[in-house]
Amino acid sequence: MKIRINSGRTVIQGSHVDQKNSPEYFRETSTIRLNPVDMMEIGIDDGERIKARTDNLSIVLRALSDDSIKRGTGFLPLGPYANFLVGGNTHSTGMPDFKEADADIEATVDTITTVGELMQQLGGVPYRR
């Protein structure tokens, strides 16, 4: 299923910006809110996982049903998971399409990578202390 992902601040995300490696930040920023009908269509329940894919990259997210979300869209709090789906094109304005990532989503049982692991996938070395 194709959805357009919007991102933005939430209180939980915002409360933990100085704790990017905490379980609270991890859980909040890797959780996508979807319309319940869309979730039924993909065949998942609250708290189950989806794989979101843009171009040839994909990322695993936890799904939460939220009937304030319009069908065909999703809300993902801003953070490394949301931005993993965003390309570097800024249309020559300096600003990427943070609020307009179009992704294919499907149900998955894969696990969600932590922030450190995600950064490792991008070429970094996880710091764990």
Binding site: N6, T10, G14, T73, G87, G88, M95
Partner: protein, 437 residues
């Protein structure tokens, strides 16, 4: 056990662009034990601070992290930055202006690009202002006068939680008898939010439809509703006419917009259209428009860079004179095009907030991160240097989202060096090095 308790007042919250300056902090044994007046976001900033700090500088060696001294970290930064062909100095929004000023001069010294988090936040707003100007005001002006407030693509209840109570809906007003009852709040958003729940009028538009709705509103205010179709980006024309009337009837209206408008298709054109909508309304009554700036001192970076370099952000000193062209000289573009061969990241977290291609490039080049806390960028950088936190164990100037400069207060002694002193040290060492070459 004996506790030393203390209360410090009039503390300035270093979290968001509201820069609330009425915070009361309780200290017990030199640690923050309580916070009053702050919102959830600000309270977390203060209360969790001590547990979150990185203890000292760290360096990536192969796939290991090792502790290093401040001297070693500075020496690494000096060598890396002075040898680079296209260094990028990014971040700055959590720093005080005193540090930002050194950053602008440092960029010039090393022929680098200096950019702030503005470019992925309200950079498009600045581009729009550069096309049509900015009819704005201080937040107290809104508080005392506004009877109509618009939040557009902005959800202050979650992003700027005290904005409504200090400056708009719930604030005391000089010119309104019962401010809370007399004020109308209109919310434009693509989704229902906590803020849209308290609005007297909620306009839900299709994602990416901001420009169309604003054009239609301008035409309606100009008396050309005849050309506007029955539905614009999911909004019925009747609602647009009603809203336009509310706006014209206001004695003082204030439109606040968030990154919901700067980040979607059209980017700065959306903001430009919003500004021109407000311009048009000023022919009927009084209206102002203001961006909801995110970081505590992101506006300070724009101010300082402007008086030093001439431009608010994205300044390229490769040729020794300032050049500015967002889309070309902005951090995301420079990283996505793999131009930068070294980066200094100042109190910001591109690892969490940049597109993946940019993060990949940061991981490949020498990246020096100044941040009090381990962040997503920690895993990508080469060296991280923790410094004191502006507003907790460091003081200096910060500019509120409406341009009001406020001096943050230092109320704790922690022993961490300030970013001002570290940047000064780096600047001086590079300057000496250049003089000897």
């Amino acid at each position: 056990m004996f506790h030393i308790e203390d209360k410090v007042r009039h503390i300035v919250c270093p979290y968001c662009g509201c820069l609330c300056d009425d915070i009361l902090v309780e200290l017990t044994d030199g640690r923050i034990s309580g916070v009053e007046n702050a919102c959830t976001l600000g309270a977390h900033k203060f209360l969790d601070d001590a547990d979150n700090r990185l203890k000292g500088p760290i360096m990536r060696k192969g796939d290991q992290w090792v502790d290093i001294s401040y001297e070693e970290a500075i020496a690494y930064a000096v060598q890396t930055l002075s040898e680079a062909d296209r260094p990028l100095l990014y971040g700055w929004s959590g720093c005080v202006t005193e540090t930002q000023a050194i950053g602008a001069h440092l960029a010039e010294l090393i022929g680098g690009v200096v950019d702030s988090t503005t470019s992925v936040c309200h950079g498009p707003s600045i581009l729009a202002i550069q096309e049509v100007g900015h009819p704005g005001c201080t937040l107290g002006q809104v508080k005392n006068r506004a009877d109509t407030i618009i939040y557009w693509g902005s959800n202050p209840i979650e992003a700027h939680p005290r904005h409504l109570s200090r400056y708009t809906n719930y604030a005391d007003a000089y010119f309104l008898h019962n401010a809370f009852r007399e004020r109308k709040v209109i919310v434009f958003d693509v989704r229902k939010t906590a803020t849209s729940e308290i609005a007297s009028e909620f306009v839900q538009l299709e994602q990416g439809g901001d420009y169309h709705v604003l054009s239609a509103l301008r035409a309606i205010v100009r008396g050309r509703e005849d050309v506007v179709p029955d539905m614009v980006a999911g909004v019925p024309k009747s609602q647009l006419i009603r809203v336009a009337e509310m706006c014209k009837k206001a004695k003082f209206g204030a439109l606040f917009f968030g990154v919901g408008v700067t980040m979607t298709g059209g980017k700065y054109k959306n903001i430009r259209n919003a500004i021109e909508f407000v311009d048009e309304l000023n022919r009927h009554t009084k209206w102002t428009i203001s961006p909801m700036r995110g970081h505590s001192n992101v506006y300070g970076s724009n101010e300082v860079f402007t008086w030093i370099t001439g431009y608010p952000y994205a300044v390229d000193y490769a040729r020794g004179i300032a050049f500015y062209n967002p889309g070309e000289t902005t951090a995301v573009d420079i990283l996505a095009r793999k131009e930068a061969d070294a980066a200094l990241i100042m109190a910001s977290d591109p690892g969490a907030h940049f597109p993946r291609t940019c993060c990949e490039h940061l991981a490949k080049i020498p990246t020096i991160l100044f941040d009090p806390y381990p962040s997503a960028t920690t895993h990508l950088c080469t060296v991280q240097i923790p410094c004191a936190v502006n507003g907790i164990d460091a003081a200096g100037t910060a500019y509120r989202m409406d341009g009001i400069p406020i001096r943050t207060r230092k109320f704790l002694e922690t022993g961490y060096p300030t970013d001002t002193s570290l940047m000064h040290e780096i600047y001086e060492q590079i300057r000496e090095r250049k003089e000897h070459v």
